[in-house]
């Protein structure tokens, strides 16, 4: 179908359209609304044959989505931030139903204070639910990931819902040239959904979501979800191979940028890693051997790929666009856990940056590179720090003066 200039939201909507989704329960929240409005328009003008319903809340929306998925319809829904948290209870429930729902989350900082800019506390709050999590850097990746998400979720070795994540504003409203795949080709990659496991039919009564009494049974079912999530790593390789064959674009569980000969590595996710890549490129021009690693999956966590990619590196700086209050960066903890038992592990530095969409400047990246180099020279790793410039502090101080607090 060729290329079109699409926002991240538009790309997500195209992914849903191409996946020939049957059902979309919806509820608006900025910055995700463009996705549901685009789909609603297509359904209204007849270019998409699906059923669309606006629900009374995200709690209801996720319930309806999961229930439709359990009935055998290919289902999509999308939310962001407070909406995701409002539906939190049902995120766990739907994952436990083992239904192949695909949901796009457009990341946005959490209240309070209320804000619109992105960070990843929303999506990371549901990290342990059983939903697989794919994180996207570009609009193209959003569209492609929606298609791959259905392939993964519907595979009988996985049967878990998938969340595809992108940053609000930075990606949701950035227009990029996106290749819209041909419908016939998409069908050959993602055939019509024919449920074989969970679905409700008159001739075959089935109970779903039933109670278990006792930890023996509960543990069994929970661990089955864990194993299925791990299976997704293998299945994903097949999905990627097939995707590359059909569409020519190559994806992995991690994205490696100038990593091969790098001594120092930035770890970042989502659209801010584009800023990181630009900083890496400039640092390379100055002779610093740095690269960037971007996990595309956070669940399942691609442990062995990450370990391989970081083997022999001197220092790794994780830039967390999230804050686990009272602990620090969440991905830093994940990385530390992943590398802890490695004999030849790199030093691991932690930075919190980009909260609520705060910019990360070239100077801040340079600051991080310096810290990595000095840590590897001295062997001393400084405590985690918040990326916050003098001028940002000045700006904040001014606001405090106006508020009468200084």
């Amino acid at each position: 179908m060729g290329k079109e200039m699409l926002t991240g939201n538009g790309a997500a909507a195209w992914g849903v359209r191409l996946a020939e989704v049957d059902y979309i329960p919806a509820y608006p929240i900025t910055p995700q609304t463009e996705i549901i409005e685009t789909i609603a328009k297509w359904i209204s003008d007849g270019s998409m044959d699906a059923s669309f319903v606006t629900m009374d809340s995200e709690h209801s929306m996720i319930t309806a989505a999961g229930a439709a998925s359990a009935t055998g319809a290919r289902t999509f829904t999308t939310t962001s931030s407070q909406g995701l948290l409002y539906g939190f209870e049902m995120i766990y429930t739907v994952a436990g139903w083992r239904v192949p729902l695909v949901m796009v989350n457009v990341s946005r900082g959490l209240s309070s204070p209320i804000t619109l800019g992105p960070d990843h506390n929303d999506i990371l709050a549901v990290r342990d639910s059983g939903f697989l999590q794919i994180h996207c850097e570009t609009c193209q990746e959003v569209l492609d990931s929606v298609l791959m998400a259905y392939r993964l979720a519907e595979d009988e070795r996985v049967l878990l819902p998938v969340m595809v994540n992108m940053d609000g504003f930075y990606l949701s409203f950035t227009r990029e040239a996106v290749e819209i795949p041909d419908m016939e080709k998409v069908r050959s990659f993602l055939p019509e959904y024919r449920p074989e496991h969970a679905f409700f039919r008159a001739a075959k009564p089935m109970a779903q979501g039933v109670a278990v009494l006792g930890g023996d049974f509960y543990s069994y079912f929970k661990y089955q979800m864990h194993l299925a999530s791990q299976n997704a790593l293998e299945v994903y390789k097949e999905v990627c191979d097939d995707f590359e064959k059909k569409f020519g674009r190559k994806y992995g569980t991690i994205d490696e940028y100038m990593l091969e000969d790098a001594e120092y590595v930035l770890v970042m996710i989502n659209s801010f890693s584009t800023l990181g890549k630009a900083a890496v490129k400039r640092a390379r021009e100055n002779g610093i051997k740095v690269g960037l690693l971007r996990p595309r999956f956070l669940r399942p966590f691609p442990e062995s790929e990450i370990k391989n990619a970081l083997e022999g590196k001197k220092a790794v700086a994780v830039i967390d666009q999230n804050i686990s209050v009272g602990k620090g960066g969440i991905i830093y903890s994940e990385m530390a856990g992943c590398l802890y038992n490695e004999v030849d592990k790199p030093l691991l530095l932690s930075f919190i940056g980009g909260l609520g969409g705060k910019n990360i400047s070239q100077e801040e990246f340079e600051f991080i590179f310096e810290k990595m180099i000095s840590a590897s020279d001295t062997g001393i790793v400084e405590p985690p720090s918040l990326l916050y410039t003098e001028s940002e502090l000045e700006g904040m101080t001014k606001l405090k003066e106006i508020a009468g607090k200084e």
């Binding site: 629900m55 009374d56 209801s60 319930t63 229930a67 009935t71 049902m90 019509e192 409700f200």
Partner: protein
Amino acid sequence: MDTSTIISIKELPPEENMLPGTAACAGCGGLLTLRYCLKALGDKIIIVNAAGCFTLLTIYPFSPFRNSWLYTAMACAPAGAQGVRDALDILIKKGKLDPEENLKVVVLSGDGSAYDMALSSTSGAIYRNLDFYYICYDNEAYGNTGFQHSGASPFGSRTGTTPPGKEVPVGSQLQKKNLFDIWNSHKPPYIATVSPAYPVDLMNKFKKAEQFKGPKLFISHIPCPPGWGFDPSRSVRLAKLSVETGLWPLKESVHGEVEHTYVPKRFKPVEEYLKEQERFSHLFKPVRQEDALKSIQEMVDEYWKKHEFLP
């Protein structure tokens, strides 16, 4: 289902769609209601359940039902019903599902869910004119967690969170919410109150409801032996007393027009009903709470006066 009116209990369908051997308490009026409801609805249904006592009717790998079951959560069974109904409809429309395989969608919840936590998702489902049946078994408290106060708990009742004491001798000081009117203000095609002591009335209401597409509510006032505090053998008698005293009017509303389906010839005093239950015992001893008892009777009388069945 044959929609002609039945007149005697002998005409109830003999088929049982819920089999014995569940984890519900002996004498549970809700279970008896459900048994009758399922006789009326048949087995081509899916029950979408909210957290409550009846969640424990299916415990892996057992189910007492001949039909399908989906447990959702306490706040959102109507939203689960929406997902199932919409999915079935679109799959049939797209030719992916044989219409023979279609199911009626039934929400099953207690009063805590129906009157409190799921009110928003219920309102949404009625507003969207979802084609479903909603069965609420109303034991007037949160039963599964040990009988705490819910929006359905009546004035003067003792619950786990409204214990009568020196400062508050009457127990609950709030009046029961009126779920019937809350639903009715949404103008759904059919709403009814039912009772497990009046199965013929219940059955006829289902027969009537079946002709309507859209939301259909059945609220059953159900005796709960452990919560109300009475011997399980007296369950049906108590259900009957709640109707005969006028406390639980049996009625229906078709597109907003309310009619009573049974009016006792002579209303028994509410005390007859209250004094049989431990949850009202503080109204009688150590001292009679005359004001409270009077106001409960007045509330009942006012209702029937308003509807012109009492002078």
